[in-house]
């Protein structure tokens, strides 16, 4: 009895071994079929597009020059630079820094000798961080057959103005036009109001320094 059970078991083992042997053989045949060289070799090299390697041009850097009316101190030239980052096609953030020199007040001119500020204190510099919105993007036409891309934007932000020897917290707001003759190059015309408190002439008052400038920027 025990020997019959043993034989049955051995048979089963044999069947399993043979079955597995066959399946191994099948697998081996398949690999030889795959290992053969293909009849036609495609001469096409496949290029893979990796979008991160595509040049993104969300930044805009440039400089500007214009005029700035410094309240009580006449109108002077202003020069500066700007750096912008375009978040979406509608919104952008911009950092601007500018430099100007105040003229004499009417009082200083009339009185002759009396000077309210030293030469150092007359220099005005500012920086600001602003948020912009492209309100009217579109095309403008120059003559009959030239069209330029452009956008009119609203912009406003906070910053610092150094004037009369002190730093002053400054709000700015304005409107600008960006003309884009080439995809990498833009011309700006910008009108900006810089608002801060000044207590130079005895009592504190809020002054508005209006600025108008033209600038060039490059996208990168």
């Amino acid at each position: 009895m025990e020997s019959r059970i043993l034989i049955l078991l051995l048979r089963k083992v044999l069947v399993v071994l043979i079955a597995s042997g066959y399946s191994n053989l099948g697998a081996a045949q398949e690999t030889t079929a795959n290992g053969q060289a293909p009849v036609i070799e495609p001469g096409l090299e496949r290029r893979e597009i990796r979008i991160p390697q595509i040049d993104t041009e969300d930044f805009e850097v440039g400089f500007f020059a214009g005029v700035m009316s410094i309240e009580d101190f006449g109108v002077s030239t202003v020069i500066g630079g700007r750096l912008a980052y375009h978040i979406t096609e509608d919104f952008f953030v911009e950092m601007t820094a500018g430099q100007s020199d105040a003229e004499e007040t009417s009082f200083e001119r009339l009185s002759g000798a009396a000077q309210l500020l030293t030469d150092d204190q007359r220099s005005l510099s500012y920086y600001n961080v602003s948020f912009g919105y492209n309100l009217f993007p579109g095309e403008v036409y120059l003559g009959a057959d030239r069209a330029l891309n452009m956008a009119i934007y609203l912009i406003g932000g906070v910053g610092n103005t150094t004037f009369a020897g002190d730093d002053r917290f400054t709000l700015n707001m304005g409107v600008g036009v960006r003309m884009i003759p080439r995809d990498w190059f833009a011309v700006h015309a910008d009108f900006r109001d810089h608002i801060f408190d000044l207590d130079l002439l005895g009592q504190e008052k809020t002054v508005h320094n209006l600025e108008a400038h033209i600038g060039m920027t490059f996208f990168f």
Binding site: E57, E89, V129
Partner: protein, 218 residues
């Protein structure tokens, strides 16, 4: 290769700029550059124009795989290394404008370097601080964080007020804040910090500050 019936080429990177050319199905376009979610492409006959992200996603590579456009996602945000930003707020009654740069050591832990201009009625200060930040849930869109740091503050009184000495003091702070991933590379953050200015006088000053602003990461 274009799979949509056609894609539209705009003259500029925005929906407001007019369509001046269409590329038909089965034609190929070459990608040139990208601005925000618009792509500059070159058509088979040399025309260059701007295609929106939505339309570009309907094109296929030569291998037959769809073009994958990496729009920055929450996962990239969690993996960020560098971050810069600007915040504005109130420092003990004065206006404060801060810029900072941050580096992430791990998902939770990052180090930051801050430059702040404090512009008040009677005095102005410049602050430089370094601090470490611990984010509680860095993988989530909104996460609170804690921060601890130290720095120096230089205060000068305004010229028209009775002259007192300019002074430089050491400063330490603790803070709590919240940050929210907005879109693409953009993050909104708002925070409250409590400072202790270690003065050489009898009493230390304890100004508090809250501010909010934006940052972007790369």
């Amino acid at each position: 290769m274009v799979e949509d019936p056609f894609i539209e080429l705009h003259t500029g990177p925005g929906r407001a700029y007019p369509v001046f050319y269409v590329v038909e199905r089965q034609e190929r376009v070459t990608l040139v550059s990208r601005r925000t979610d618009w792509f500059k492409v070159r058509a088979p006959r040399g025309q260059e124009g701007w295609v929106s992200l939505e339309q570009l996603q309907q094109t296929f590579q030569l291998t037959g795989e769809p073009v994958e456009v990496p729009s920055f996602s929450l996962a990239d945000y969690a993996d960020r290394r560098w971050e810069i930003g600007a915040l504005y707020g109130d420092f003990d009654g004065a206006n404060v404008i801060s810029t900072y740069g941050a580096y992430s050591f791990t998902e939770n832990l990052s180090g930051e370097l801050w430059f702040s201009d404090v512009l008040g009625r009677f005095s102005n200060s410049r602050m430089v601080n370094i601090n470490i930040v611990h984010s509680l849930f860095p993988e989530r869109r909104v996460t609170p964080y804690f921060t601890l740091g130290a720095g120096v503050i230089n205060t000068e009184t305004k010229g028209t007020v009775v002259a007192t000495e300019d002074r430089t003091d050491n400063i330490v702070h603790v803070g709590v804040g919240v940050r929210t991933y907005l879109t693409r590379r953009f993050v909104f953050r708002a925070e409250y910090k409590s400072y202790v200015v270690i003065t050489s006088r009898d009493n230390n000053e304890e100004p508090s500050e809250w501010k909010a602003g934006f940052s972007f990461f790369f």
